[in-house]
Amino acid sequence: MNRRAMLYLVLLATGLFSTGCYEKPQVVFFEPGEYKGRTDPLLALEATPEQQQRLEQRLRTVQMDR
């Protein structure tokens, strides 16, 4: 009896342990011509007029002919 209880316990523990290994599938459906990777935080930064101004100022300061 004790051995049977032990067996149930082991089976239960194995079941619980296996559930921990479950990985939620992340399916990304391909659509032609559409980028589905991670979003680049630079995209939001570049849209700001301050950043545009900074880059233009940098170009005029560093690369303009003297």
């Binding site: 391909f30 589905k36 990777g37 991670r38 680049d40 630079l42 560093v62 303009m64």
Partner: protein
């Protein structure tokens, strides 16, 4: 909105290769990959010309058009970037690019090439800006810091320009006016000298 472009003035480039070294150092580019190269025409002959070439960040990029997994994206100001997570190393972009910009770090049996690598206009990739992960995979992100590509910024003769295409066109137009003519690095006189 600005469109970021590179322009190399063939009259000013002295083939010092400093842009190549700056790029490799700034972005920790792996061995065997050159994101930027200096090409010399008529090497050692009178009329020798050199130009520095990298990804031209095409408006309608052929690399992006042929990519079977669509790993490319273009920023609002025209910088063509890609995700190494999505890249499968098929090499289609390498065949499509007229400038030979996309390169692969490995060459092994069964066509294993590794993930594609090319010039990022010093704008990193789709990872948190200036993070260690971004630097390891794509190199530095100078654009997020308000700076422009190092290759262009450190060019000693200011042959290589990189930034807003309109401003660069202005700089180049003024140079041509000062020189009093168009550069003869290409055109009829170059193809058929004296003809």
């Amino acid at each position: 909105m600005a469109r970021m472009k590179f322009l190399c003035d063939a009259e000013r480039c002295i083939e010092c290769n400093a842009c190549v070294v700056a790029c490799k150092n700034e972005n920790d580019v792996p061995w065997g990959v050159n994101r930027r190269r200096v090409i010399t025409l008529r090497d050692g002959e009178p009329g020798e010309k050199s130009i520095s070439v990298a990804c031209m960040h095409c408006t309608d990029a052929p690399c992006a058009a042929v990519c079977p997994v669509d790993c490319f994206y273009t920023t609002a100001d025209g910088i063509v970037l890609w995700s190494k997570d999505l890249c499968i190393g098929c090499g289609y972009c390498f065949y499509a690019c007229p400038f030979g910009a996309p390169q692969f770090p490995q060459e092994e049996a069964f066509g294993v090439r590794g993930k594609m690598d090319k010039c990022t206009f010093c704008a990193g990739g789709p990872l948190p800006d200036n993070s260690d992960a971004e630097y390891a995979e794509y190199g530095s992100n100078r654009i997020a810091e308000g700076k422009l590509p190092l290759c262009a910024e450190m060019c000693a003769t200011k042959a290589l320009l990189g930034g807003d295409g309109d401003v660069i066109a202005d700089i180049y137009r003024k140079r041509i006016l000062k020189r009093g003519g168009r550069p003869q690095s290409w055109g009829w006189e170059t193809a058929y000298p004296g003809g």
